[in-house]
């Protein structure tokens, strides 16, 4: 029978099917961090269960870490306690732990691919909804809750029904100044924040075939923002070139054997999907959000829609615009910006900093804007220095912070103050996401750069 990429990977990991219930799915790789794992370990302890395969779990500290002075003790006692709990749990159960200050430390979805933990055909989970990032490699990857983290530690399995299948094709090519982030925000604006709930998405078509691995990660990362369980892209030469020779990828004969398998990981020509969408890549322009969920995005040159033009209730829409301090029909161009945040598992990789730097080169940071540039990992941080990007950034008046999730969810001190506007390359513009009362506009690193030097929302195409 013909199968989709998703079918192939899912079906090969089913330990047992339960009649009228979920599948017992084997998990190849499990990533954990300090925020969603402590209660899972507590559960193991209370039930006196050992971790079944500690070598399949990788621990890093990222959500709740400072992005300055990481060499100093963490000042917030609650955060310090959580970091210590992760370290203690990892040590107690024999799990690899790349804590704060470790050379391999960084945002969980940045370091997985960096070290070759993420591989085609694998099942990967983490107590974080943006685990969908790893689908860029042709893996089935999705976020789970803490009860499921405990299940994976105890049994290396979770129990979930198989999702329905959706394919989203983007044909043609992208225009100048349009990035993978814009493609993702465009798709979410079309499908809405719940349009893919219950589905696992495969991204296909020329635009994704031509996209870099980092771009594919940005797109897959945002799958959850339209409600999808996850998103994936068939592995190809771009994928294989990226993962070759990384620490945890197979070597020698094992590599050849893996390659023979990985090359079969594509949707069969006559396989079918429960739902399909096709978009024209050339119709996409740089995107920005104006509301309080990632589906509320528009092309940057457009005006904020009227309530009558959007799906959903008027009350919810008005509440959202009220929170943002925006009105129907207004242009986004020229809106005041107080903060710019570049980073997160969505856009905290080297290509994102290259894009940002390319636009600000030879210009100066706008005085009214506070800019937080937060690399996704120490490896990204080192690369920024090695490529000379830091010199260009410094010359333009920017500083670089240390790796972590930072202002994406504002668990640490990187909080946007109440009422202030932030252009952010992260993934969520929910009320209070970047700090109580903070107003977030999601966009690409290029749109962030344009805002950082002009102090207002600016179409980056006018500056390229």
């Amino acid at each position: 029978m013909s199968k989709t990429l998703f079918d192939k990977v899912w079906d090969s990991h089913v330990v047992r099917k339960i009649e009228g219930g979920p599948d017992v799915l084997f998990i190849d790789r499990h990533l954990i961090h300090e925020v969603t794992s402590p209660v899972a370990f507590l559960g193991l302890k209370n039930r006196d269960i050992k971790v079944l395969y500690p070598e399949r779990t990788f621990a890093t500290a990222d959500h709740n870490t400072p992005t300055i002075n990481q060499h100093l003790p963490v000042s917030d006692p609650l955060s310090a306690n959580q970091l210590k709990a992760l370290e203690n749990n990892a040590n107690a159960y024999g799990i690899r732990h790349w804590g704060l200050g470790h050379q391999k430390n960084g945002i969980v979805h940045v370091i997985g691919p960096e070290h070759g933990i993420t591989q085609p055909g694998a099942t990967i989970v983490c107590g974080d909804s943006h685990t969908s990032t790893h689908g860029a490699f042709g893996a089935i990857a999705f976020g789970i809750g803490t009860s499921e983290v405990e299940m994976v530690l105890a049994s290396q399995c979770i129990m979930q029904p198989k999702a329905k299948k959706m394919r989203i094709s983007v044909t043609g090519s992208l225009s100048k100044g349009v990035t993978p982030k814009d493609v993702a925000l465009f798709i979410i604006s079309k499908l809405t924040t719940s349009g893919a709930t219950g589905y696992f998405v495969e991204y296909a078509g020329e635009v994704f075939e031509k996209m870099s691995m980092e771009g594919r990660m940005t797109v897959c990362n945002l799958s959850i923002e339209m409600g999808a369980r996850g998103g994936m892209i068939a592995p190809d030469q771009t994928t294989f070139d990226y993962i070759k020779d990384r620490e945890f990828t197979p070597k020698g004969d094992a590599w050849d054997k893996a390659m023979a398998y990985w090359q079969t990981l594509k949707t069969d020509a006559d396989a079918t999907f429960d739902k399909e969408f096709t978009f024209d890549g050339s119709s996409i322009e740089p995107m920005i959000t104006y509301g309080t969920n990632p589906g509320m995005g528009i092309g940057i040159s457009n005006h904020i829609p009227d309530a009558s033009e959007v799906e959903g209730g008027v009350t919810t829409y008005e509440k959202s615009l009220g929170y943002m301090g925006f009105h129907e029909g207004e242009s986004m161009i020229g809106k005041k910006v107080d903060y710019v945040f570049v980073g997160s598992c969505t856009n905290g990789r080297i290509e994102d900093f290259r894009a940002f730097t390319s636009l600000i080169k030879g210009k100066k940071k706008a005085e009214n804007v506070t800019v937080w540039l937060v690399p996704g990992s120490h490896i990204v941080e080192e690369q920024i220095k090695k490529e000379g990007l830091l010199d260009v950034l410094t010359e333009a008046g920017f500083t670089l912070r240390q790796p972590g999730c930072s202002a994406c969810l504002a668990m640490n001190d990187d909080k946007v103050p109440a009422g202030k506007y932030a252009v952010s390359t992260s993934n969520r513009n929910f009320e209070g996401r970047q700090g109580p009362g903070a107003r977030t506009m999601l966009a690409s690193p290029l749109v962030a750069a344009a805002a950082a030097i002009t102090g207002v929302v600016t179409d980056p195409r006018t500056l390229i």
């Binding site: 084997f26 209660v39 107590g127 789970i144 803490t146 105890a154 290396q156």
Partner: protein
Amino acid sequence: MAYDKFTILKSTTVPLPIENVDTDQIIPARFLKATERVGFGDNLFRDWRYNSDNTPKSDFVLNNPVYSGKILVGGKNFGSGSSREHAAWAVYDYGFRCVVSSFFADIFKNNCLNIGVLPVQVSPAFLEKIFSAVFADAQAQLEVNLPAQTITLLATGEQEKFDISPYKKDNLSNGFDDIDYLQNIRGEIQDFAATLPF
């Protein structure tokens, strides 16, 4: 984590007719720093419930003494966003045992089922009926019957069936969780693992 068995729940409700209620509203990230599952109910809907000086916002439904009960009724696409189980814990810890909406985000729904909170998906029309009934009379009760898989608006007798997988229904009815199941098939899992290429 074991939880109370769920069979039939008859209760007044707390109505929250907002769509796309995300997990950052249910429990903001700054309250995720605990290493134990205690006290999350205090911060349920924190920023909608309290002003920045920690005084209650009188216009938010949880601060309105007229509304109470073990059933939370939310607008479409309830629980979107992050995978934080803390959101489901906050709902449970506050005292809710059931959340009703016309649509749930995937991970939140799964998290609820894993900790003994029953998510009940109803039609948009039935959701409107519940809101109308509760806003007309805050004492209006719902009956959620898990064995029969029905939800009934007791004032009018109007009823809908709801879906739940037989496996999850069995778990909730008996207070079991997936770890109990998985521990019992550990040998089968290990045999399976031995066949995997990596």
